[in-house]
Amino acid sequence: MTRKGYEGVAVAVPVSVPYVRYSIRAAHWWLARCFSEILKAAGLKKDAIDGLSVSSFTLAPDTAIGLTQHLGVSPRWLDHVPLGGASAVVALRRAARAVQAGDADIVACIAGDTNHVDSFRLTLANFSQFARDAVYPYGAGGPNASFAFLTAYYMRVYGATREDFGKLCVAQRANALEYSPALFKKPLTLEEYLSARPIAEPLHLFDCVMPCAGAEGFLVLSEERAKALGVAFASLMGTIERHNAFASDPVQMRAGWALDREELYAQAGAGPLDMDFVQTYDDYPVVSLMQLEDLGFCGKGEAPAFVRRHSFTHNGSFPLNTSGGQLSVGQAGAAGGFLGMVEALRQLTGQAQARQVKDAKLGLVSGFGMINFDRGLGCGAAILRC
């Protein structure tokens, strides 16, 4: 059975609570600030929000429902999306269905995490049962070690070089210099990238995201409602999610996008070549290469050549992660999964200021998350049009 389309769904009011490296506040503080910024930007009272979707790692022991009492809201539709880097796409997809079905009029999708001085270690140690039993006791390197395996394998099999990964990191830093909330404020040269200290070989310092505290959010509502409110919006053209795909591959070199991308592009009535920009999930550059392949911008194993062919700055030949991505902005836990979505909305609603991609009409946002054991399990993608 073909799934129904996403006609009539608007995505609007991108909000970012500026990141800090460490915060003494709880996740609730960051989510509350995000929620109130959304209301302020949309000119709404909180009672107008009747749907709430929450993503966070550090909200524990609370989940979304505890947050309703904390924030004093009474939604008639509530979702908790603990899917890390896949959170934004999945939250949007579910919220879109709620709006289409009339279960909610306006859904606020918020993601936020705090970062105390020792909280990242604790998150890693208890990330999942498989991680606790079969990964963390092996050097406690966290995702650095997992992505080092994938990066080393990718380099060996497909001939990628450190320069290829470095090119993405350097271009994203250039983008970040035009995005004031980014935690990294200095330009990055390829020489600096290559000579950085090793973290988990072949990964070096600038291949790894920096954990931080922050929050991101947006609204999902009908196009009519968005127009009535007078907020700028993008329309949802298509979206997919897929979990634990290709489970029998001995090592992850592809994820669920490769299964569902045809359907994604069919929903949107557009192809990869039509995209004006792409926001990939970029906790490590190898993941961006995997997404470019699985989403059909090039064939499997061809991403190194693709990278060598393009520049990736906002004004370059293939605008990618135009606010700098997590590699240059910081990774605020689950909010890191929202970074690309919020930036896509800014690009499509003309709010991207100096990094505005010229004539951006159509953009693709991709999400990837949850290294449960040896690979990322969740993935999703969405195409938005203005």
């Binding site: 270690r121 079969a134 006791p137 650095n144 395996f149 090793p198």
Partner: protein
């Protein structure tokens, strides 16, 4: 190849022991239970035969919940490797850089494993084994496909083993054949220094001269029933002992009805149970402090128990009881030594081929075979050792049905 460590400056601080992450789900402890015996087992579905990893509650293929632990060869291909230069955990932070590998096992699953230094870059054939780490939990280690020279000297592998090489060992009783075989085996394994205890030092015992001819061995008066003697010896050498092998034993035949009075049973308890307690109280604290003391840190405490500790052997009834008591105490010692990463190795031999087992039919364990099994266990990081055919058979019968074994023995 490891070099003998330089003498330590006693004024400098001794690094305190830390442990690798120890938390595991209950189902994952199946890996530890097998590794404690030196086995590599993974869950294998009883219904569809699929081998599973990481440990889980249901088969990922057919959803069966019957996933018994089954022996696996561990052979596989190294897909990729990394060298950590950063860790979020204190134990590894103190031991960086640290090498890890991603291995596709021939039996199906892909695993993350500690990677031996002699394994070449991927792709490479490897042999994955389970080893107990300093926290006493099983971890996977990818070894070179074939033995290489000085393989046991690998810096990472040595964190999982208790190799006697370059270490200082105390053997508590040098008067028995087992004690003398232990000294020979430990010397052959490259122990740096072997202190050998002997009670009643005014008596010259058979084998005395042979022991004195072993260059690493030093004989010291030690009577484990003498609290003062144990305390004074611990004060003298306790801060230097890396491996303590308690083989002191008092063994008489007879059960309950064939002997009147409690003197013999009390003597068995005094050596076999209270002897262990005295040693543990005097030597334990110093060894606990030296769990991370460089290349030759305190690593292991070996108790020579008896297979009769599992189930009473009525013809040797009071001896069995004293060994059962010692086994229980050794479990307590294991818990108390664990925070220091010092492994308590319990050895459960079948009847040893000595005069006190004269009437026990063969097969019996030769002293040299027992000694080699103990050194082998230290090298391979094994925690529970059942040397000899009788011990293996008793263990199998006991695991299968302890009540049936009790009936068979009576």
């Amino acid at each position: 190849m490891l070099e003998k460590p330089r003498r330590k400056n006693p004024v400098l601080r001794t690094r305190l022991p830390t442990l690798p992450p120890a938390a595991r789900s209950r189902v994952a402890l199946g890996l530890t239970a097998a590794a404690a015996l030196g086995r590599f087992e993974l869950q294998q579905c009883r219904d569809c035969a699929m081998v599973q990893y990481p440990p889980r509650e249901a088969c990922q293929q057919c959803l069966s919940v019957h996933l018994p632990w089954s022996p696996q060869s561990g052979e596989g291909e190294l897909l990729s490797s990394t060298v950590l230069h950063h860790s979020n955990d204190l134990f590894f932070r103190e031991r960086l850089p640290w090498r890890l590998g991603l291995v596709h096992l021939d039996c199906g699953p892909t695993v993350v494993a500690h990677l031996h230094g002699a394994v070449p870059p991927a792709p490479a054939r490897v042999r994955v084994a389970a080893r107990l780490d300093r926290a006493g939990q099983a971890v996977l280690v990818a070894l070179p496909e074939k033995e290489t020279s000085n393989m046991a000297d690998d810096r990472q592998l040595r964190e999982f083993t208790c190799d006697p090489r370059l270490r200082k060992v105390l053997v508590t009783d040098g008067k028995t054949a087992v004690g003398q075989a232990l000294v020979q085996a430990l010397a052959a394994a490259g122990a740096e220094l072997i202190w050998v205890g002997y009670a009643e030092p005014w008596k010259k015992f058979p084998g005395f001269d042979e022991l004195n001819r072993i260059s690493q061995a030093t004989l010291l008066p030690l009577d484990v029933t003498d609290s003062k003697n144990v305390r004074e010896l611990a004060a003298e050498i306790g801060g230097k002992v890396d491996i303590l092998v308690n083989n002191a034993e008092y063994h008489r035949a007879f059960g309950i009805g064939n002997r009147s009075g409690v003197e013999t049973a009390r003597a068995e308890m005094d050596v076999n149970y209270f002897g262990l307690l005295r040693l543990a109280q005097e030597f334990g604290p110093a060894m606990r402090l030296r769990g991370a003391d460089g290349l030759a840190s305190a690593v292991a405490w070996v108790n020579v128990l008896s297979i009769y500790a599992l189930a009473n052997f009525p013809p040797h009834g009071t001896f069995s009881a004293s060994k059962a008591a010692a086994h229980s105490l050794a479990q307590c010692l294991r818990a108390e030594m664990r925070p220091a990463g010092v492994r308590v190795v319990n050895v459960f031999p079948g009847p040893i081929d000595d005069e006190w087992n004269q009437l026990v039919p063969p097969p019996k364990v030769a002293a040299a075979a027992l000694a080699n099994a103990i050194v082998g266990a230290l090298r391979d990081g094994i925690e529970d050792v059942y040397p000899g055919d009788v011990a293996q058979e008793w263990l199998a019968r006991w695991r299968d049905n302890p009540k049936a074994l009790e009936r068979e023995l009576s």
